[in-house]
């Protein structure tokens, strides 16, 4: 076995072990308690603009097939205790053929915008305990 292959083997084994350890620690996100609520990301609106979820529920943002313009999903503000805030925003824009799913485990009020069209496109998500 070459040195490079040995290194790959060690890495794979370590990753596998770390995965097992993470499972033992219960680190992965909990499974959503129900089907994700679908939100349309359309030319110049989120539909619906308001949603109420139970803790642990998810939203699946789906970009409309008829879109002409690029849009993103960006968390403008969220609960104070929210961790990993950046993970609630997409990194890129999309016009169509795109989805973004996120599970909400922290109760509170979330405000989302499209940074490309911030005055037209905004939505509020309320997560209850």
């Amino acid at each position: 076995m070459t040195r490079a292959l040995k290194l790959v083997a060690i890495a794979v084994a370590a990753l596998a072990l770390s995965g097992a350890a993470a499972t033992a620690a219960g680190a992965p996100a909990k499974k959503p308690t129900s089907k994700p609520k679908e939100v349309s990301v359309a030319d110049f609106y989120f539909g619906p603009e308001k949603l109420t979820l139970k803790k642990g529920q998810s939203i699946d943002w789906v970009w409309a097939e008829t879109n002409t313009y690029p849009h993103d999903v960006h968390l403008k503000s969220g609960p104070k205790k929210l961790k990993q805030k950046a993970s609630y925003s997409t990194k890129t824009t999309a016009v169509t053929d795109a989805e973004f799913e996120k599970t909400f485990t922290t109760p509170g009020t979330y405000h989302f915008i499209c940074t490309i069209h911030p005055t037209q496109m905004h939505m509020t998500v309320v997560v209850k305990k």
């Binding site: 290194l7 890495a11 002409t68 890129t92 824009t93 999309a94 940074t115």
Partner: protein, 508 residues
């Protein structure tokens, strides 16, 4: 509970093991080559350390972050790269400002960014290259094709901390992208030069939403958007067989100089829409371009591409689509200069100008799409009779104010409308005194001349702009095209391209 201590011990050990395993792999990487002034990160399909452009870009971004004064270049060797590259200037511990991403060969077709089957963060890869909040990015010598959104897209959001101060897109090719080829939005200045685009579902070149000095600027404030304008340059570009050759929604301070726009649905179209910020478009210079044969009826089934636009708005229940068969369109423009262009062989109109009639037109609710203070001068129309534009060389809807026409080629033709308003009022000669945008004597609607709309109850008259653009079905726009010569005389090396309708498809 009893497992927890073991896990706490195990995890750091495993993380360390993973780290050890990964570190030598990095060590195997060839150190970035220093090429004269720039540090080069090379990407290629086989034989380089970076097999994707994305990986090379991220490595270069990390290196530039650690070496604050370093100039970095991502050099891409010939090949096909099935990926969507993201240059995310909002990332921590990365610096992309001033980076160059370039194909190593001068022929852009040697480095292909392929959108078909490419995957991205949200599913299908959206753009060949998307740069977010990056200053001075340089993109060169590449071909981006078949993406769900755009070929090359550089932008910033109107958000605190985001910025896009200049960019250079040079010697790029974009084709078959769903929306735009070369696309910049919310940037202060930039260059799109020596590039080409075809078969885009909107425009091959797009500059949108030029930001103003103040976030709350609007056209009614009677102050300049930018006190010291930062200009964008489009020069030596070729745009053909797209829905639009150039589109600029709410674009400002754009010089469009010495390009060729041909065989599109329409050639050069600065426009004003509610969909983007900082309305209207204006203060642009469109000069010495060749704008010809823009008669591609993409509404027909045989078109090689189709529009992604749902139209400009609705009126009387009809969708107002982009007009086709037109060379240059000023739609809701303020202080644009159209000078010294050669405009010929467009079957409907050569240069058309019109407003979005405010509250009656869904696309412009704030009445910020009035055509005011534009100059249309010294243009050579219809190749002096050899290849005339169709119905008319000049077409204006008689709205707005302060617009003027002067020293265009002597035999230019002007659409008269219903004849109730003299031509001298519809097309005043230059110079004209500037009008104030907010003035009540500067209307965005004017039915008197029968050019914008024949009457408030009639939307279907194709000699009016709203009737023509609202043709139903939309491919019927070509019903009123006028072909004044049997075939276009040869022009340089270009060939006219049109779509043949299938039987019954056009119902004149």
């Amino acid at each position: 509970m009893k497992h927890r201590p073991a896990v706490f011990v195990l995890v750091p050990v495993l993380v360390a093991l993973v780290g050890l395993a990964i570190q030598p792999a990095s060590a195997l990487a060839a150190k970035p080559a220093k090429k004269s002034k720039a540090t080069v990160f090379e990407a290629c399909r086989h034989g380089c350390h970076y097999r994707t452009i994305q990986k090379a870009v991220e490595a270069a971004g990390s290196y530039a972050f650690k070496n604050k004064t370093a100039k970095v270049t991502v050099a891409i060797r010939p090949g096909k790269y099935v990926e969507g590259v993201v240059v995310d200037g909002t990332q921590r511990k990365k610096r992309y400002d001033g980076m160059t991403i370039e194909g190593t060969k001068k022929d852009p077709k040697r480095v292909v960014l392929e959108g078909k089957n490419a995957k991205g963060e949200l599913g299908a890869a959206q753009n060949g290259i998307e740069a977010i909040s990056v200053d001075g990015l340089v993109l060169k010598n590449m071909w981006a094709r078949n993406y769900e959104s755009n070929g090359f897209f550089i932008h910033a959001a109107d958000e605190e901390g985001q910025h896009c101060n200049g960019y250079t897109m040079n010697n790029l090719l974009a084709s078959g992208n769903r929306s735009y080829g070369l696309f910049a939005k919310h940037c202060l200045g930039g260059k799109m030069i020596n590039s080409a685009g075809y078969h885009q579902g909107d425009s091959a070149f797009y500059v949108g939403e030029t930001p103003c000095d103040k976030k709350n600027w609007n056209v009614y404030s009677n102050t300049p958007c930018q006190k010291k304008p930062v200009w964008t340059l489009l020069k030596n570009d070729k745009s053909y067989e797209n829905v639009l050759g150039y589109s600029g929604t709410n674009s400002k301070y754009v010089r469009i100089i010495e390009n060729a726009f041909y065989n599109n649905g329409a050639g050069i179209v600065p426009n004003t829409l509610d969909s983007e910020g900082y309305e209207p478009n204006g203060w642009n210079v469109i000069e010495r371009n060749d704008v010809f044969w823009n008669n591609y009826n993409y509404f027909l089934a045989g078109s090689a591409f189709h529009t992604v636009s749902a139209g400009l708005g609705e009126l009387g229940g009809e969708t107002i689509n982009y007009p086709t068969g037109v060379g240059i369109v000023l739609y809701g423009s303020d202080n644009d200069v159209v000078r010294g262009n050669r405009v010929f062989g467009n079957y409907k109109w050569g240069i058309a100008s019109f407003s979005g009639p405010g509250e009656t037109f869904v696309a412009n609710e704030g009445n910020e799409a009035k055509n005011v203070n534009n100059e249309i001068v010294e243009n050579v129309m219809g190749r002096e009779g050899a290849d005339p534009n169709g119905e008319y060389d000049m077409w204006n809807d008689a709205t707005g104010g302060g617009n003027c026409w002067g020293a265009n080629s002597p035999n230019s033709t002007f659409a008269p409308g219903n004849g109730k308003v003299p031509l001298s009022q519809i097309y005043p000669v230059c110079p004209q005194a500037e009008v104030e945008y907010a003035s009540k004597s500067v209307p965005s609607i004017n039915i008197a001349a029968g050019l914008q709309i024949a009457s408030l109850s009639e939307t279907g008259n194709p000699s009016t702009i709203l009737g023509y653009a609202g043709s139903n079905p939309p491919q019927n726009q070509q019903c009123t095209w006028v072909k004044r010569v049997a075939t276009h005389p040869a022009f340089q090396k270009y060939k006219p391209v049109e779509v043949a309708p299938k039987p019954g498809e056009v119902t004149c």
